[in-house]
């Protein structure tokens, strides 16, 4: 009450008002927390139910898959009639559909893995967008997209393929109006080749610290490395040329050595050259290192 005499009645009143307001919000908070507890409980129950469904779903799925591998029509009937479905028959239809859905999804995924393209229709089918995934040695790398206008003619509208891949000239060469697939196949080869070479270069830099990469380019179509022969302190300049841009293996290997002019012609290095021609460069280097040819 002393405060009120100092600050005046009005300020005291506003103080009281603020207090009342904060009490209200406190009550409100308690209520909110209760609500939250309730909500979380419901969520827990839901999750439990979901786990349960998932378990059943897996069983159904397993039986479906079995049936598919056997490929027998009669067996399908058998599966449908019998087994564990009886427990909750009302949901069985739905569960079977769900299982089928997951199966199809997996199939689609498999399709992507073996090189299918993900194609999306946009603006009522007037455009399509194809995404081309790249991968190297089982590792998914970048995904590139190409969007086509379908009308009046099939035409590339936009894409995010880097400029050193000749998308436009590839499009000109292929018969895009009738066979868009062929174009996508070629493009995909180029992209996978590029992605593979780039990944190789990355791996070389990561795994072979003693190898000095002297030169490379954005397309990764050339790779010049300085290799060190252990013990002798001799350095060898090794150039790999990838003229076929769809491939991850070089089309030419050249070896130079300042100190020992004869070295490139030695049978050992001839052997190395053919190794480099046939094996991805990072692996070839590992082999050479294991054989004590390079440091």
């Amino acid at each position: 009450m002393e405060g009120s005499s100092k600050g005046g009645v009005l300020s005291h009143l506003s103080l009281l008002e603020a207090k009342a307001r904060s009490r209200k919000t406190q009550l409100h908070q308690i209520k909110e927390l209760r609500d939250k507890v309730e909500a979380l409980r419901i969520q827990r129950d839901q999750l439990r139910a979901e786990i349960e469904t998932h378990k059943i779903l897996q069983k159904v799925r397993a039986s479906l898959d079995k049936k598919c591998t056997k490929g027998g029509e009669e067996e399908e009937l058998q599966v449908k009639e019998g087994e564990k479905m009886n427990e909750d028959s009302e949901h069985s239809q739905l569960l079977r559909l769900m299982a089928r859905h997951t199966q199809l999804k997996d199939l689609l995924h498999a399709h992507h893995i073996i090189g299918g393209y993900n194609i999306t229709k946009t603006i009522q089918g007037r455009r399509v967008c194809a995404s081309l995934a790249t991968a190297y040695e089982g590792v998914y790398l970048e995904t590139y997209n190409v969007e086509f206008d379908l009308k009046p003619t099939v035409r590339i509208r936009r894409h995010d393929v880097p400029p050193f891949i000749p998308v436009d000239s590839l499009a000109e060469q292929s018969n895009m109006q009738t066979d868009i697939r062929a174009f996508l196949d070629t493009l995909s080869k180029y992209l996978n080749g590029y992605a593979g070479r780039k990944q190789q270069l990355k791996l070389v830099k990561e795994r072979h610290k003693s190898v000095e990469v002297m030169e490379s380019n954005v397309l990764c179509s050339i790779l010049v490395m300085l290799l060190t022969v252990p013990g002798e302190r001799v350095t060898v300049l090794c150039t790999l040329k990838y003229t076929d841009h769809t491939r991850c293996l070089p089309t030419g290997v050249y070896v130079q050595c300042e100190a020992d002019k004869e070295l490139p012609d030695s049978p050992q290095w001839k052997n190395n050259c053919s190794l480099l021609m046939e094996t991805p460069v990072h692996k070839a280097l590992t082999i050479m290192r294991d054989r004590w040819i390079i440091a």
Binding site: T122, S131, E147, D160, P162, P163, N217, L219, S221, I222
Partner: protein, 346 residues
């Protein structure tokens, strides 16, 4: 000769901000550790410059050293002048197999054939870019190192980025460039800006473009702001749709920092309410310039907030789609009134 070296050094130091002098000199690598230690970089810039000039005199630095210093500074700080993009056209069959040493030799020899006095310097940067510094002279004059041309080229790509190239030297440069990269022609790509990285990313498609895919787009997920349960947005769907279209037109995520785009419009004035102007034969000439610290982000916001109608007009989406920021727009067929305009090359 000594004087020109010194004045060039002075000029370069003047361009470098005080706080960056030390790191630039270190990177240059022409100063010994003792020399670097002897300079007190907390002093005013002109004293530092004086010390460097003294060292230059003592050490008898050549012009080459100084140009190296300039180049290393410019490579690290390229956003100083206007950069113009050029596009190489019609590659020869072996265009894809041009390699660095071959390109360097060819470019040098072609340019030296064309101009007698010329000073060339090339350096490959860590990101595979080839940087070229050209100081031009002519038949009677020594190369002018005060106004060098800088060019940046990524081998195997059809783009060249150039700054401070005069119209007098442009044909010479173009010829040397096309011959040494094994292309047949070069043209203006109608893209320019102060930010080299931005125009490069735009042309090399090194920015996040948004494509419609079956996978749940990260955009939609990002857009779900946690809101109060009692607040509901009536037109949430529209907003999401606008954002999607905006991202499709200009790209998602952080966009290249392009600062401006210019449209030269020479189209007919059409307005149903204005008969006199619509019937007029001549086109309505105007120039529209859009400017912002990040133009593409501004435009994307324009479209997503509803200031610009969606779908975005091809005129605006062409900036990121075609990688251009200068357009001349004309009515392509005067007869057809309903024909939409099309962006045409300069």
């Amino acid at each position: 000769m000594g004087d020109s070296t010194k004045s060039l050094l002075q000029r370069i130091i003047r361009r470098i901000p005080s706080r960056a002098i030390e790191s630039t000199l270190r990177k240059w690598g022409r100063l010994t550790a003792e020399q670097l230690q002897s300079i007190d970089f907390t002093q005013p810039k002109w004293t530092v410059t004086q010390e460097l000039l003294d060292m230059c005199e003592e050490g008898n630095w050549t012009l080459k050293f100084i140009t190296e210093l300039e180049m290393s500074y410019i490579i690290d700080n390229p956003n100083q002048g206007m950069w113009y993009a050029y596009q190489l056209m019609n590659p020869e069959d072996d265009a894809n197999s041009v390699e660095l040493t071959q390109f360097k030799e060819q470019f040098k020899s072609h340019l030296k054939q064309l101009v007698r006095h010329i000073s060339l310097k090339m350096k490959k940067h860590t990101d595979e870019a080839v940087w070229i510094r050209i100081a031009w002279g002519d038949r009677f004059f020594q190369p002018n190192h005060m106004k060098p041309t800088y060019a940046v080229h990524y081998l195997q790509t059809p783009y060249v980025f150039v700054t401070s190239l005069t119209s007098k030297h442009k044909p010479l440069f173009s010829q040397a460039m096309t011959l040494s990269t094994r292309y047949q022609a070069i043209k203006d790509a109608n893209l320019s800006g102060r930010n080299l990285t931005a125009i490069r990313d735009l042309l090399m498609r090194q920015f996040q473009q948004a494509f419609p895919t079956k996978h749940p787009s990260p955009l939609a997920e990002r857009n779900q702001t946690v809101s109060h349960p009692r607040i509901e947005k009536e037109q949430d769907g529209n907003a999401a749709n606008r954002l999607e279209l905006a991202c499709e037109a200009f790209g998602g995520g952080t966009l290249p920092q392009l600062q401006s785009a210019v449209y030269k419009l020479e189209t007919k004035f059409r307005d149903q309410t204005n008969k006199a102007m619509t019937e007029r034969e001549e086109s309505f000439k105007c120039i529209v310039k859009f400017a912002s610290t990040n133009l593409l982000e501004s435009l994307r916001h324009c479209a997503s907030s509803g200031f610009a109608s969606t779908p975005v007009t091809p005129l605006l989406s062409s900036i990121s789609l075609k990688g251009k920021n200068y357009f001349v727009i004309t009515d392509n067929s005067p007869g057809a009134a309903s024909q939409p305009r099309r962006a045409q090359d300069k």
